[in-house]
Subunit: 473 residues, 2 copies
């Protein structure tokens, strides 16, 4: 059933996106320009993202902590590249109560400075290393144009900040955390993302290098969703974070940082959802199954309760829609909210010993014998949906993946249907800047794949890297 409050995805993608966000009650605009209220339906997705990622981080030895949200200006300025990168986006606290502050304080745009300031006093020797700290918190970046989840002045995220005694160990950590983000996108969000290295131009301000996880939306626009930075000794030198190594010599620590944000909710919507509303992969859906009783019948209610209890007892998050709305209304609501599986039970089904299952992703309906093992059936169905959603997203991505040999080809693709564009690059920032003139197309990442033509897509000189390009959110 088409939802009247949702513009068609193929008619106006941007409008469709905000319509889905609103119809599924994920978030709404507020009286604070550029800041959203994350509503319970949206926040429940974030909570599930947090619980899965947090468990993985901890399995890998990380611990959580909380640094102050405020950063004194002089501290923020110590690492020159960082402050240059973030200066235009910092929100400043200049008054406490009725008094002007002697030194203004930044609302954290990211917390490298605060972690360095902490590590400086808490790392003395190699025995104190590694420090594998993470924090879940809010940050502010004073963006000019905003969109719910994708680009908001305040957003929620996790930021891991680690310190190591060797370069090798820090590099391994940087790689490992990018693998976690990739795993999370592929296995949990059913998003076939691509990972690779950011160019010098696109890397994090202050990093030696940045790894990135890039997803492709339904409309062919790319979304950066998760980055992992190797800092080497850049920050530790700027903030004087030293340790006594095994040779009894003072050495600067080797650092990393890595983060993912609430923007992943935006990615989830733009990869999987449709004109009926939200579609959620079962592994990230806060509610996986809805049971809808049809008619007012005690035997139906009893059976609903029984199945509901069985499923919940077996780790399938299920609820019964007991409201007094009509079945049709309940179906539509479950659809707009993206509940992966809907179970319908009515008095006629009971008579015929039947039960009906409906998939949100394909709208397929299956009528089964009441005697089947419902738990097993639903668990298998959820896994099938998860797999099918991944494959469908992969097909879409592949259909929007192109190769360009020169600028003419690149321009033609970008003017027809944007997507991931594979093209060789000489490594010069000038060429990157020139490519950006075509609809703002940027390098997504350098991938570890053979060169295509061996010549730069822009200048035609010898190519150094196989790069994926695209328009981004």
């Amino acid at each position: 059933m088409k939802n009247d409050s949702i513009t068609s995805r193929d008619v106006d993608f941007a409008k469709w996106y905000t319509d889905v966000v609103k119809a599924a009650k994920l978030a709404d605009y507020t009286s604070v320009k550029g800041c959203i209220a994350i509503e319970p339906n949206g926040y429940a997705i974030w909570e599930k993202m947090q619980s899965i990622l947090d468990k993985k981080f901890k399995e890998l030895g990380h611990v959580n902590c909380q640094m102050p949200v405020l950063i004194p200006e002089n501290l923020l300025k110590k690492e020159g590249e960082l402050v240059q990168g973030f200066a235009p986006e910092v929100a400043w606290i200049t008054m406490g109560g009725s008094k002007e502050l002697e030194e203004r304080l930044a609302f954290r745009p990211t917390s490298e400075t605060m972690f360095c300031d902490y590590y400086k006093d808490h790392i003395k020797s190699y025995r104190d290393l590694p420090k594998l700290y993470n924090q879940w918190c809010n940050v502010i970046r004073w963006e000019k144009e905003t969109r719910p989840f994708l680009r908001s002045r305040e957003f929620l995220w996790q930021e891991g900040h680690t310190a190591h005694s060797t370069k090798e160990e820090a590099i391994k950590e940087t790689d490992q955390m990018m693998e976690v983000y990739k795993w999370f996108h592929h296995e949990i969000l059913a998003i076939p993302s691509i990972t690779g290295l950011k160019t010098e131009k696109e890397k994090f301000a202050g990093a030696e290098y940045t790894l990135t996880n890039e997803a492709l939306m339904y409309n062919g626009v790319a979304l950066q969703a998760g980055t992992s930075h190797y800092f080497g000794q850049k920050f530790s030198t700027a903030y004087d974070v030293k340790f006594l190594n095994k040779e009894n010599k003072q050495e600067f620590v080797y650092q990393t940082s890595w983060g993912t944000t609430t923007r992943m909710i935006g990615g989830l919507i733009m990869v999987h959802s449709d004109d009926k509303g939200l579609v959620l992969p079962p592994r990230i859906a806060p509610k996986q199954v809805v049971i809808i009783p049809i008619g007012n019948n005690d035997k139906v209610f009893e059976l609903c309760e029984k199945i509901n209890t069985e499923l919940n007892n077996n780790d399938v998050v299920t609820y019964i829609d007991k409201t007094d709305k009509s079945p049709g209304f309940k179906f539509a609501e479950a659809e707009v909210n993206g509940i992966p599986v809907r179970i319908e039970i009515g008095p006629r089904d009971l008579e015929n010993n039947k039960i009906t299952f409906a998939r949100r992703d394909t709208s397929e309906k299956y009528t089964e014998d009441l005697n089947i093992d419902v738990v097993k059936y639903v668990k298998e169905l959820l896994e099938t949906i998860q797999k099918d959603m991944y494959n469908k997203a992969l097909e879409r991505r592949d259909s929007l993946t192109f190769t360009a040999k020169d600028l003419t080809e690149m321009e033609k693709i970008l003017n027809t249907q944007p997507g991931f564009i594979h093209a060789d690059w000489c490594g010069n920032t000038e060429c990157e800047t020139k490519i950006k003139e075509i609809k703002g197309c940027k390098s997504r990442c350098i991938v570890d794949e053979p060169l295509i033509t061996g010549k730069c897509v822009c200048c035609g000189s010898d190519a150094k890297h196989h790069v994926i390009w695209g328009i981004q959110y």
Copy 2:
């Protein structure tokens, strides 16, 4: 073993407190005045507090969300009492990037305004009610004097904000959430807190009335730890939050709010800990058991691993201290960190078929036969510790609970040994103000107990309330 880095509790309580916070690595000062870094050991306690409270909130039908951290000044000013109450403590954002903002934005000191602003647009009819929203977030209050956890410019908390269609339902919610906080303190934190009603002078700015949960620290100073406010229609009138009631008439919603903060970690320390460091009740301890292998013996290591696995598989959070430190050092570290139970296993124990358990709270040691059911034994021991810690705290509270008939008695108590002081009160703010002149003693709460003398402790006129008084953090 006395910990050398910790001042004795009976010598200098304030110094003892900060020593414990530092020695147990719960938090540390930062370069940001008045803001702390919550270190992994401290944050793990907060995570456990969150998980237990959050589960309870959800069982009671609440859902989580996230409102913006920034509040436009004009919005904050709509409810006069609220803004007057918080104005001296607000931190203001006045610049975004390099531009001065047209209207300054408050860093949320509390979020009644933002919830009202949201509810205004999202509540249309009684069918949309109740709204049972909660959020976990950070807030700032620009305090002059700060102490780790107890009073920090930035702190973490949960704030529940609910809207109801009737006064009765909102009052029930206010009461219910205070019961949750009391339950949490008594059953989980092993703190025998007292709950009651705040006086007009001490209630939350803008509330009809405030319920409070008051704990007594080891030194006899009170700590407010959790409040629940009934707003009636005060905020809904100021922010125009209306609904169409069942009689098809527009009516303002009835609201509540309730919160607990990271200051509970401070309370936990000041009620239970000692000169050896942190003491944690088992139900809130992030790590409940530490196993310390003595000597370098494969059979010992094997047994440690076996017991560790068994306990963890049975929901007892256990770890083995595998570092190369000496057993004595490991014992001291487990003690300062407040691990409730320590298991020691050495080669001689193995020969004698023995295993040793040590309690953190009493320092008692028990040597048992190796063949006992370790899981059952440890689970029972943890429950015994939990109960004993509660009873010990209750004894301490009772020994610091006094009754005063007049100001002379009150003054004498406060000059000798502060605590909870029961005394009757006429209900006039003037008397409250006069009592406050004695060492800053304030009304903690009005309790539902019979009057003592029937005369006000201050002015001697007829008393209206039985009040508990005390000095506070």
